[in-house]
Amino acid sequence: MKIAVQAGDFDAGLEIRNISKDSKIGAVASFVGLVRDVPMTLEHYPGMTERAIAKIVDEAKARWQVMDCTVIHRYGALTPNDQIVLVAVASGHRGDAFAACEFIMDYLKTQAPFWKKEQTAEGARWVEAKAVDDKAAERWK
């Protein structure tokens, strides 16, 4: 298991290869989140962030067969098309890998203490939390 909260970029291919080495692993599902149109700065709560992600991963491990897992989330200044987040889950079969990957991402959206501030043409503004993200996390309950 690897959880990293970092300013720097990541190599998704390398991270996926790193959790694919056990010959009992038959599936790796991964998600990469990208910055859309607007440059932004991501703030986080050092310490709690890593802790919150670890709790989400533990919850996923309790629900599905998770043989290995990597979650990387960036902070700091990011520009359009930059990678923000990687969730990669290795499992015996695709069903568990897909489900655990989506679950971790949905929970990360509502539980991990990150805040986006967009630098728009009209000035900087904090992104507001979306009800649709709460709904996405709710459906796993």
Binding site: Y45, M48, K109, P113, F114, K117
Partner: protein
């Protein structure tokens, strides 16, 4: 009791600070009570902790509900709903 309070994102900006040590009066022993206590300071605090402000909180780096109890030495954080991912 003494606690460390942390502020993030828009709350931090409204207050112009990211942390402070507070010595809470008796009776301020939950997250909700601390929020009211901070609002009562007036000025920027009244704005940041207004009744209608959508806030989340954590005690010792775990998400905490308004009714959660605060103990001496705790690290209590206030922040807006999270927007990562």
């Amino acid at each position: 009791m003494k606690v460390k309070v942390l502020y993030f994102a828009s709350i931090r900006e409204k207050l112009g600070r990211d942390t402070e040590e507070l010595d809470l009066p008796a009776g301020v022993a939950t997250v909700a009570a601390l929020r009211n206590h901070l609002r009562a300071r007036g000025g920027n605090y009244e704005n940041a902790f207004s009744e209608k402000a959508l806030l989340r909180s954590a005690i010792n780096q775990d998400m905490a509900q308004p009714a959660a109890a605060i103990k001496p030495g705790d690290e209590v954080a206030f922040f807006p709903p999270v927007t990562g991912g």
